[in-house]
């Protein structure tokens, strides 16, 4: 590429050293981020993976135990089985529904005039931005007759005694799923809103000329393919969120919850890690969760590549 040594460059085009040297500016630009990323993300993650092969109670130095944590997880830990089952239920139900809700609402909001659009975005993003707003559900789901849900059902004579919703095994998952869906318009939603703003408007004009007739066709053939990068990003966010559900379960159902009805992989991880101080074991749980997410993500990316074809 340089003016003088064009021939020489072409000859060595495939040599790694030359490639690196030619892109010196790129390496300078990524350096600040990746140096910090190495110290504050890569190193801690690698340490955790190593710790997953040890017994580590935070106070004493870790003792290497090989695969013990993993065999214990899969062979001896009954709660982990419940946790995996519940997490998969969340992943299969709330994951895809949340994802489509994000997309649907972002798309509908984009149909309105800009002023209305900004207002609607605020209203729908509100549950995610106001921190612990989901604690409001404690009022609705209160176990005595003062709880809103119990109050309504009693008034309408559907039940004749209040139900302790979040302490009754068969209801716990149902309500956790509802609250989680209510919370789902978060990072992915905002990204989709921003993604819709960056779509080249001339594409819509061209599509209209090419005979796209209604908003559904426009969505499938123009909008979605144009925002594929955002769709892939949204999928990763959704997967990490649905697989890592914990706060809502802990605050509404307690940790540990009644008969572990609301246990997820992360509540189990927090139970062993921050309550029982078994950091080695907790790390092993994190590694399994990580592998589950990576696998699901591979699948999701494959599906999303088919959009708009």
């Amino acid at each position: 590429m340089s003016k003088v040594g064009g021939l020489l460059d072409r000859k060595n085009e495939w040599s790694l050293y030359n490639k690196i040297r030619r892109n010196k500016a790129c390496y300078f630009m990524i350096a600040p981020y990746f140096i910090l990323f190495f110290f504050f993300t890569v190193l801690p993650v690698l340490t955790s993976i190593v710790l997953s092969f040890t017994q580590f109670n935070v106070l004493e130095p870790p003792i290497f135990t090989g695969w013990t944590n993993y065999t214990r997880l899969f062979l001896d830990d009954d709660i982990f089985k419940i946790a995996i089952k519940n997490t998969l239920v969340f992943a299969v139900i709330t994951g895809p529904i949340s994802y489509f809700m994000c997309l649907l609402f972002a798309w509908i909001i984009n149909e309105f005039r800009p002023k209305v659009r900004a207002f609607l975005t605020l209203v729908f993003y509100a549950p995610s931005i106001s921190g612990n707003a989901y604690l409001i559900w404690n009022l609705i789901l209160r176990g005595d007759r003062y709880g809103l849900l119990n109050g309504w059902l009693l008034d309408l004579n559907f039940i004749n005694a209040p139900i302790v919703w979040m302490r009754t095994e068969k209801y716990v998952m149902l309500f956790l799923i509802i609250v989680q869906l209510w919370l789902s318009l978060g990072t992915g939603f905002l990204t989709f809103i921003a993604g819709l703003q960056t779509i080249d408007k001339s594409l819509y004009e061209a599509a209209a000329v090419d005979g796209i007739k209604n908003r559904w066709q426009e969505l499938w053939y123009v909008t979605l393919p144009s925002m594929r990068p955002q769709l892939l990003f949204g999928a990763v966010m959704q997967i990490t969120q649905s697989f890592a559900i914990a706060d809502v379960s802990i605050n509404l159902a307690g940790n540990p919850s009644t008969n572990y009805a609301g246990a997820t992989i992360v509540t189990h991880l927090l139970d062993t890690g921050s309550i029982r101080y078994e950091m080695g074991y907790a790390s092993a749980i994190a590694v399994i969760l990580f592998l589950l997410m990576v696998g699901t993500n591979k699948l999701a990316q494959k599906v999303l590549r088919k959009v708009g074809t």
């Binding site: 790694l16 490639k19 892109n23 500016a25 790129c26 630009m29 990524i30 600040p32 981020y33 990746f34 910090l36 990323f37 504050f40 993300t41 890569v42 801690p44 993650v45 340490t47 710790l51 609402f105 509908i108 909001i109 149909e111 309105f112 800009p114 900004a118 605020l122 209203v123 729908f124 993003y125 509100a126 931005i129 106001s130 707003a133 409001i136 009022l139 209160r142 905002l190 921003a194 993604g195 703003q197 960056t198 001339s202 819509y204 004009e205 796209i212 908003r215 066709q217 990068p229 955002q230 990003f233 997967i239 890592a244 992360v266 991880l269 890690g273 921050s274 790390s283 749980i285 994190a286």
Partner: protein, 291 residues
């Protein structure tokens, strides 16, 4: 004539839209909107409720005798705090401002070469970042603490700010948006003799304004939410969020002040969100240079 009308409708984005469809969408959004916004309304009205109404079950959506007692209670409480309120505010500005601006700049600076340049190792680096997002942060906290102690930045602002620069989310988000920019803009800038940094700052960043504003909102929320109590031992270094949480933990006698605290905790990121959101939507009407 017909053609001109059609072009005008295209300009206004009203093409391929039916009235009936618009009406259905409007009603759907109104119903869902009420459902989503209720807790926010409750947070606002709680701040103005006198104590007896705060403890009433079922809670009322709107206060019967609204007043500002809770606000004055909070100010009296904050006035009596050992560290002056202004100090907490300055700490917050440094931590939240530094963390947000730094992350947006550093992450997008790294995202540009990953999205648009071809150099050895780029795929690997990017994949590592995406994978890192999927690792549960709860277990990395202890290694993280050890590393921050070893680096000697424990009990300084840097312990909160530096790690926040390196969150995976920002880089991934920015890279995804930058991918959509046409190569032709970059090529013509290169021909004009612009350096890589110049291209990043004056061509790429203006083009992905909705992306970095969104990232700023997300990062602001994240930084605003941290109390920093793991790393900051000195009271003089702690952010407002920490001071406010102490009031919430004060028990039933402080419920009134706590309701105002909840409002403040929600109001700050919402204000920031509104500012950013209106410029995200503004960019749509002005960005004509995509190709």
């Amino acid at each position: 004539m017909k053609k001109r009308l059609r072009l005008k409708r295209i300009r206004n984005r009203s093409l391929n839209r039916s009235m009936a469809g618009n009406a259905v969408l409007f009603f759907f959004m109104a119903i869902c909107g009420v459902f989503m916004a209720t807790p926010l309304v409750l947070i606002i009205s709680n701040a103005f409720k006198p104590l007896d109404e705060l403890f009433r079950y079922p809670p009322m959506l709107f206060p019967r005798n609204p007043n500002f007692d809770n606000f004055s209670d909070l100010f009296i409480l904050m006035d009596n705090s050992w560290v002056p309120l202004s100090r907490y505010i300055i700490n917050t500005i440094i931590i939240v401002g530094g963390g947000t601006v730094g992350h947006v700049v550093i992450a997008s600076m790294a995202a540009y070469p990953l999205a648009k340049r071809d150099f050895p190792g780029k795929k690997l680096l990017f994949n590592i970042v995406v994978l890192s997002i999927m690792f549960t942060y709860q277990v990395t906290q202890i290694p993280n603490y050890l590393i921050i102690s070893k680096l000697g930045i424990n009990n300084t602002y840097l312990a909160l700010i530096l790690p926040s620069f390196a969150f995976g989310l920002g880089l991934y988000l920015m890279k995804q948006f930058m991918e959509q920019i046409h190569d032709s803009i970059i090529e013509s800038a290169l021909l004009d003799g612009a350096g890589e940094f110049r291209i990043y700052w004056s061509i790429i960043m203006p083009n992905v304004k909705p992306a970095w504003l969104t990232l700023a909102v997300l990062q602001f929320q994240q930084m605003w939410g941290t109390t920093g109590s793991t790393f900051l031992r000195d009271e003089q270094l702690k952010p407002l969020q920490y001071a406010l949480q102490q009031i919430v933990n004060g028990g039933p006698a402080r419920q009134g002040a706590a309701a105002v605290v909840t409002l403040i905790i929600a109001a700050i990121p919402i204000t920031f969100f509104i500012i950013c959101q209106s410029s995200i939507i503004e960019t749509m009407t002005t960005s004509g240079m995509k190709d």
